[in-house]
C-alpha cells in the first residue's frame, strides 16, 4: 500500500500545532473612484503596498504608515505580475502594441529611476523572484537576471516555478528547466512555491486549486480557490472564493485554509462587497485585497495556537 508520507507529515504537523485564525479589524487603505486600485501586493519589507489601475495600467506605491501615495509609472501592463525586491525596487512589465502586435518589456524602478531589463519581446512569461534574482521565459528561453544589479546571470541555485505560453507548469531546479504536470496536460494558470520551497499550490483551468509536492504528487484539493497565496510561515493559504454569472462577478469573499485543507476560515463576510486578490503581508498579520469597485482594504488577523 502506498502511503503519502507528505500528507501524513502535514497531518501530524497540523495535529501537533493546530492553530486558530482570528479576524481583528478591516480598514480601507485607499478609495478614489477616479483612480481605482486593483491587485495590491506588499513590498518585501511590508512597509508599503503596490497596486495598479484599470486593465493593469500604471503602478502606485501606498505607504502603510501614513497612506501617502506615489506613482511609479503609468505604463500599460505595469500592474500585471510586478515583483518587489529587497532593496525597495520593483520590477514590472510594459505592454506595447505595434501594428496590433503585442510586445512586452521588463523594467525596474528604483531610486535612480527606471531601467529597462528586457526589451520588447513577443512573449514574456509570468515572472518570479528568488532571493532578488528574476526568472522569466522569453518564448521558451530562460532568462535569469540579478534583480538588484539588473544584469543577466548564467545560473540560479535552488528552485522556482514558471508558467509558459502554453500554460504548462515549468520547474527550474538548479538552472535546469523541467515540466510538472500534477493533473496531466492542460492549462495551469497559477503556480506558487511555498516559503520553504517544498510544496506548490497551483490552479488548473476548469479543475480547481491543489497543493502538491515538487514531484507533482497531489496533497490537498482546495476546490474553487482562486489566487492562492502562501502565508509567510507556509502553514496556510489565503484565496478568494468567487461566483460569476458569465459576465460579472456576483460574489467573492476571502478565505484562509490550512495547507492540508482540514481547517478553513472565512475572513470577509460582506455580501454587499466583492473582495478579490488577497495577498499576505510579510509579517503574516495582515491580508490586503481589492474590492470590485477598486478600493484597497486590509484585514488584520491573528494566528494563535
Amino acid at each position: 500500500m502506498k502511503i503519502n508520507y507528505m500528507l501524513l507529515l502535514l497531518l501530524v504537523i497540523t495535529a501537533l500545532s493546530a492553530k486558530e485564525i482570528g479576524v481583528k479589524e478591516t480598514r480601507q487603505l485607499y478609495g478614489n473612484l477616479d483612480q481605482p486600485a486593483f491587485f495590491p501586493t506588499y513590498s518585501v519589507d511590508g512597509t508599503s503596498i503596490h497596486f495598479t489601475g484599470n486593465a493593469y495600467t500604471g503602478l502606485w506605491i501606498l505607504d502603510r504608515s501614513n497612506l501617502q501615495l506615489s506613482k511609479i509609472t503609468d505604463l500599460q501592463g505595469a500592474g500585471f505580475n510586478p515583483i518587489s525586491l529587497s532593496d525597495g525596487s520593483i520590477v514590472f512589465r510594459q505592454d506595447e502594441y505595434i501594428r496590433g502586435r503585442k510586445y512586452t518589456s521588463l523594467l525596474k524602478s528604483d531610486r535612480h529611476g527606471i531601467q529597462r531589463l528586457v526589451d520588447k519581446q513577443r512573449f514574456l512569461s509570468t515572472t518570479n523572484a528568488f532571493d532578488d534574482q528574476i526568472i522569466t521565459l522569453v518564448g521558451e528561453d530562460l532568462v535569469l537576471l540579478d534583480g538588484i544589479g539588473g544584469n543577466r546571470v548564467n545560473s540560479l541555485a535552488g528552485i522556482s516555478i514558471l508558467i509558459n505560453d502554453n500554460l504548462s507548469l515549468k520547474t527550474l531546479r538548479d538552472g535546469v528547466l523541467g515540466n510538472l504536470e500534477p493533473l496531466g496536460s492542460g492549462n495551469y494558470i497559477w503556480g506558487v512555491l511555498s516559503p520553504l520551497k517544498d510544496l506548490l499550490v497551483f490552479t488548473k483551468v476548469g479543475q480547481g486549486t491543489y497543493v502538491c509536492d515538487l514531484e507533482g504528487k497531489l496533497i490537498t484539493d482546495l476546490g474553487t480557490a482562486h489566487v492562492p497565496q502562501w502565508s509567510p510561515d507556509g502553514h496556510f493559504l489565503v484565496f478568494m472564493k468567487d461566483l460569476d454569472d458569465g459576465h460579472q462577478y456576483t460574489e467573492s469573499e476571502i478565505w484562509i485554509a490550512s495547507v492540508d485543507g482540514s481547517q478553513t476560515w472565512q475572513i470577509t463576510h460582506t455580501p454587499d462587497r466583492i473582495e478579490m486578490y488577497p495577498q499576505w503581508s510579510p509579517a503574516g498579520d495582515h491580508i490586503v485585497y481589492h474590492s470590485h469597485q477598486g478600493e484597497i482594504f486590509e484585514t488584520a488577523i491573528s494566528i494563535t495556537d
Binding site: 473612484l33 500599460q76 496590433g100 512569461s125 494558470i189 483551468v205 476548469g206 460569476d244
Partner: protein
C-alpha cells in the same frame, strides 16, 4: 517547358495561398459560459453555441491565414471555466487580443446583435484601446451574416447604465472580460437563444461556421487585409404556404449536396416531438467564382431549380427558397355553396383556396353567368377571393361561377378544379338567388340579452343583425347606451363587422358601468339594409350589471408579438380532422376588446374536414411570460372570444402538477354560438374538467397550455375566432355607492395587475380583521429591495401600488405579512 513548370508552380502556390498579414499576431477566443449553461428556449444552450462558433473561427484563422496562434478558453463542453480563469489564461499567455463570444436572452420575440467593448464609467475606452474599433466592424458583419438587426457597438458601461452600475461608485468596465484583460477586448452577442427560430438555427453546425466567418472578416478588415473570395452560398428553405422551415430538403450546387437538418439527424437531441423543430438552413463553402444552378428537392414538395448568376466577392451569398407542396391548388369552400337555392342577391360570392394564389391569373380565370360586372378583393394571404358585385344579382335566378384551370398559385401550378390531383381543370359553382328582400333589418341577438342580469361591469355589448346593414348609417346616434335610473348616457366606442353576411355592432363603454345597476340599449329608427329597407321602430334592450369585478393576472394579452410565443397551429401533433390549408393563426388589429385597452387579438382560422370522425385544433403556447404565470385551481380562467355564430367548440387546456409529474387537463367545451365578443369563464374550482389526456383532476400548480377548438357535425366547417385578454381572474365584490366592500373572510394577497408590468403594478390584498400589514419586494436572492407598505390597516379589500422604475427587469417576489399571516407571490417586471 519552363513556362509550364512556372505555371504549375504558380498554380500550386495559388491553391495553397494563405492570407498574409496576421503573422506575429494572436488572439484568445473566449466562448462564454460552460457546459450547457444558459439553456436556449428549444434546448440548445448558449455555451454550446458559443464554443462551436469559437472553434470554427479558430479553425478558419489557423488554416486560412498566417496568424501566429489562436487560443480558446475551452475546447469542449465538459470543462467548467470561471471568469477569473478565462482572463488569467489570456493574460498569462500574453495574448494580443481577446474576443468573448456570447448570445443574448430575453423576450422570445427579440433577436438582435450586440457588441460590447470595455468602457470606464466616465465614457473613456478601457485601455489598451482597440476593442471599440473591432466592435464597430464586427457589429455590421455579424448583423449582416445573421440577417437580424443590430443594437449597436456599445461601450459596456453605457450599455449597462440602466443596472445602476458604472456610475461614480463603479469604475468600469462593466464586463469582467473587458476589465481584467491586459489586451484589447470585446464581447459579441450573436442573437437571442431565447428566440425559438434563432435557437433552432443555432443548432445547425454550419450556421455557427457562418457566424464565425463574420468574425474572421472582421479581423481581416481591422488589419486592412483584403478578404479572400469566400465562395459561400447559404439560405433558408421554407414552405411557401405556411412559412414553416423545411426539414430534410436537399440542395445541390456544383456537385455538392446539403440536406437540411431533420428530427433524425439533429432535432431528436432536443425534443421527442418529430415536428417540434425546423431550421431549413443550408450552407455551401469553397464554391468557385462562377454562376450556378441550384436544385432543391424535398419530399411532398415540387422540386425547384434556381440560378445564381454570381457569388458575392467578399460575403455570404444568400438564396432563400420557398417550396410549394406537390399538390395542385384547389377550391376548398365557397359561399354560396354548390346547389345553394337561397343566396341573398346582394351578398358577395366568396371562394377559399388551398394556398396563396396568383391573383392576376385568378381574376382572368373568373367568370359568372348570367354576366355581372364586379371587382375582386383578396384576403387571408390571397387564399380567399371575394367578388364585389357592381350591382345586386337578379332575384330568383340561376347563376354559375366558373374558375378556369388556368388560374395558378404563386409557383405557377394550375388549379385542380375537379380535385382529382391533376391541375389544369376548371371549378364550377351553381347556385340560385333568393327572393328579393323587402324587409328592414331585424336584431337577431344581443349581448346582454333582454332582461339579462349579472352582466359584468366592463361588457362588450353586441347587437347582431339578421343581415348586412348599410354601413353609412351606423353611428352612436342610432345606437346608444343609457343608465335607466337617471337616463345618463354612457360614452361608447361603436364599431361594426360583417360576419357570415350579418352585421355585428360592438358597443364598448369607455367607463366601467356601475354595479347592480340597470342599463338600456337604445336602437333608434333609421337603421337600414343596403337595399334601403329602413327600420321605423325604437327598440330597447334592458340589462342589469352584477356587483362583482375581476382581479386579473394576464396569461397573454396578445399585445407583445404573440406569434412568437404561440406555435404555428400545424406544429401540434394533437390536431385532428383539419383542412391544413385553411387552418392558420394571425394577429388582428381590427377585432379587439377596446374596454380592456387591447390593440391586438389572436385570430384563429379553422377549416374542418367533413370526412373526418374526430376534430381538434390545439393552439399551443410554450414560451414567453406565460411560463411564469403559475396558478392553482382556486381561480377563474377567462378569455374574450369573438364568435362567428357557427356553434363550434372552444376550450382551455392547462398543464397541472408543474414541478412534479406534469399532466394535462382541459376545461369543458364552450359552444361558440354567438356573434361578437363574449367573456368565456372557466371556474376551475366548480366547473370541473373536460375529457382529454389527463386524469380529470387539476392537481398542484397549473400553467396554461393551449387553446383548443373542435367541430360539431352539421355546423358550418369554415370560420374564424378571435381571442383576446387570456387571463386568470378572481372575483371580488364591488364597493357600492361609497359603502365599504363586504368584509373578506380571510387574509389574502391577490395576483398583482398588470403582470407583467412596467413600471407600475397594483397589488391587491384582503384583511378579515385589523392588522399590522407589511408588503415588501424581494429579489430572487431573497434580498429586500423595496418596502411598499407598512402600518396598521382596517379589514377589507385594499390595493397598493408599486413603481419599479428604479430596478432592472426580471422576476421578483412580493411578500405580504399581516399579523401572523404571510404569503409570497412572484411578479414579473418587463421594461
Amino acid at each position: 517547358m519552363q513556362k509550364i513548370i512556372v505555371f504549375l508552380l504558380l498554380t500550386v502556390v495559388m491553391l495553397n495561398a494563405q492570407i498574409t498579414g496576421l503573422a506575429g499576431w494572436n488572439i484568445f477566443l473566449d466562448p462564454g459560459h460552460s457546459q450547457t449553461e444558459n439553456m436556449g428556449v428549444c434546448g440548445y444552450s448558449e455555451a454550446e453555441e458559443a464554443l462551436r462558433t469559437a472553434l470554427n473561427l479558430r479553425e478558419i484563422l489557423l488554416t486560412q491565414t498566417d496568424i501566429d496562434t489562436v487560443w480558446s478558453s475551452r475546447y469542449n463542453d465538459n470543462v467548467q471555466v470561471d471568469l477569473y480563469e478565462r482572463t488569467q489564461d489570456a493574460n498569462n499567455r500574453g495574448a494580443a487580443w481577446y474576443h468573448s463570444i456570447h448570445s443574448n436572452a430575453g423576450s422570445p420575440s427579440h433577436n438582435n446583435v450586440l457588441l460590447l467593448w470595455g468602457e470606464l464609467y466616465n465614457g473613456t475606452p478601457d485601455p489598451p484601446v482597440g476593442g471599440e474599433a473591432m466592435s464597430d466592424i464586427m457589429i455590421e458583419l455579424l448583423s449582416d451574416v445573421m440577417r437580424i438587426p443590430s443594437i449597436g457597438s456599445r461601450g459596456d458601461c453605457s450599455f449597462y447604465s440602466y443596472t445602476g452600475a458604472c456610475d461614480a461608485s463603479w469604475p468600469g468596465p462593466y464586463l469582467y472580460v473587458n476589465r481584467n484583460t491586459t489586451m484589447p477586448s470585446e464581447l459579441s452577442e450573436q442573437g437571442y437563444h431565447s428566440n425559438p427560430l434563432q435557437n433552432q438555427l443555432d443548432m445547425n453546425e454550419e450556421y455557427k461556421r457562418m457566424m464565425a466567418y463574420s468574425m474572421f472578416w472582421t479581423i481581416l478588415d481591422n488589419f486592412s487585409i483584403d478578404r479572400p473570395f469566400p465562395g459561400l452560398l447559404a439560405g433558408i428553405i421554407t414552405d411557401a404556404e405556411t412559412g414553416i422551415r423545411v426539414n430534410g430538403a436537399t440542395v445541390q450546387v456544383n456537385g455538392q449536396t446539403y440536406t437540411t437538418d431533420t428530427y433524425e439527424s439533429l432535432f431528436n437531441q432536443y425534443s421527442s416531438n418529430p415536428d417540434a423543430f425546423h431550421n431549413g438552413f443550408y450552407f455551401f463553402e469553397e464554391l468557385p467564382d462562377s454562376s450556378f444552378e441550384v436544385i432543391i428537392t424535398a419530399e411532398d414538395y415540387y422540386s425547384d431549380t434556381l440560378q445564381v448568376a454570381a457569388l458575392s466577392p467578399d460575403f455570404v451569398t444568400y438564396l432563400d427558397i420557398a417550396l410549394y407542396p406537390d399538390t395542385p391548388p384547389m377550391v376548398l369552400g365557397s359561399n354560396p355553396m354548390e346547389g345553394d337555392t337561397n343566396f341573398v342577391a346582394w351578398f358577395r360570392p366568396q371562394m377559399d383556396f388551398s394556398r396563396t394564389m396568383d391573383t392576376e391569373s385568378l381574376e382572368a380565370a373568373f367568370s359568372i353567368e348570367p354576366h355581372m360586372d364586379g371587382t375582386f378583393s383578396f384576403t387571408q394571404g390571397d387564399k380567399r377571393m371575394t367578388f364585389r358585385l357592381a350591382d345586386t344579382l337578379e332575384a330568383l335566378t340561376d347563376y354559375t361561377i366558373t374558375i378556369a384551370g388556368t388560374a395558378t398559385d404563386l409557383g405557377g401550378h394550375q388549379l385542380d378544379g375537379n380535385q382529382d390531383g391533376i391541375g389544369g381543370d376548371a371549378w364550377t359553382l351553381n347556385f340560385r338567388t333568393a327572393a328579393l328582400d323587402l324587409a328592414p333589418p331585424v336584431v337577431a341577438e344581443t349581448y346582454p340579452a333582454l332582461g339579462q342580469t349579472g352582466v359584468e361591469v366592463r361588457p362588450v355589448i353586441t347587437v347582431a343583425w339578421d343581415e348586412e346593414l348599410d354601413p353609412s348609417i351606423i353611428s352612436p346616434v342610432l345606437v346608444r347606451l343609457e343608465r335607466v335610473s337617471d337616463s345618463q348616457r354612457e360614452e361608447i366606442t361603436l364599431d361594426h363587422h360583417l360576419v357570415n353576411g350579418q352585421t355585428v355592432m360592438l358597443l364598448h363603454p369607455l367607463n366601467e358601468l356601475l354595479g347592480e345597476e340597470e342599463y338600456q340599449i337604445h336602437i333608434l329608427p333609421g337603421i337600414r339594409d343596403p337595399l334601403g329597407n329602413s327600420r321605423t321602430n325604437h327598440e330597447y334592450i334592458n340589462f342589469t350589471t352584477c356587483n362583482n369585478e375581476y382581479i386579473t393576472t394576464s396569461i397573454d394579452d396578445f399585445e407583445s408579438d404573440p406569434l412568437n410565443h404561440w406555435w404555428e397551429i400545424q406544429e401540434s401533433g394533437s390536431n385532428a380532422g383539419i383542412i391544413t390549408e385553411l387552418v392558420s393563426r394571425d394577429i388582428s388589429t381590427d377585432l379587439v376588446v377596446i374596454t380592456e385597452g387591447s390593440s391586438t387579438s389572436l385570430q384563429i382560422n379553422y377549416g374542418w374536414d367533413l370526412d373526418a370522425s374526430a376534430w381538434l385544433i390545439r393552439e399551443h403556447i410554450n414560451t414567453g411570460p406565460v411560463m411564469d404565470v403559475l396558478f392553482n385551481a382556486n381561480h377563474l380562467m377567462q378569455a374574450y372570444v369573438f364568435g362567428d355564430g357557427n356553434a363550434n367548440q372552444f376550450r382551455f387546456c392547462v398543464d397541472d402538477n408543474i414541478g412534479a409529474s406534469t399532466g394535462t387537463e382541459v376545461s369543458p367545451w364552450f359552444t361558440i354560438d354567438w356573434l361578437g365578443w363574449r367573456l368565456v369563464t372557466w371556474d376551475m374550482a366548480n366547473d370541473g374538467t373536460g375529457t382529454w389526456i389527463g386524469d380529470g383532476n387539476l392537481d398542484g400548480t397549473l400553467r396554461f397550455d393551449s387553446i383548443q377548438l373542435s367541430y360539431t357535425a352539421g355546423n358550418p366547417n369554415i370560420g374564424t375566432y378571435f381571442i383576446d385578454e387570456l387571463r386568470i381572474a378572481d372575483q371580488v365584490v364591488l364597493a357600492l355607492d361609497g359603502d365599504r366592500p363586504q368584509k373578506p373572510q380571510a387574509f389574502a394577497l391577490l395576483p398583482n395587475y398588470p403582470n407583467p408590468f412596467n413600471p407600475w403594478t397594483n397589488i391587491p390584498f384582503t384583511l378579515p380583521e385589523t392588522a399590522e400589514v407589511r408588503i415588501s419586494i424581494y429579489n430572487l436572492k431573497g434580498e429586500e429591495i423595496a418596502q411598499v407598505l407598512s402600518g396598521s390597516m382596517e379589514p377589507g379589500y385594499h390595493v397598493t401600488r408599486w413603481n419599479a422604475a428604479q430596478i432592472s427587469s426580471g422576476l421578483y417576489l412580493v411578500r405580504m405579512e399581516a399579523n401572523a399571516f404571510s404569503i409570497t407571490r412572484k411578479i414579473t417586471f418587463l421594461k
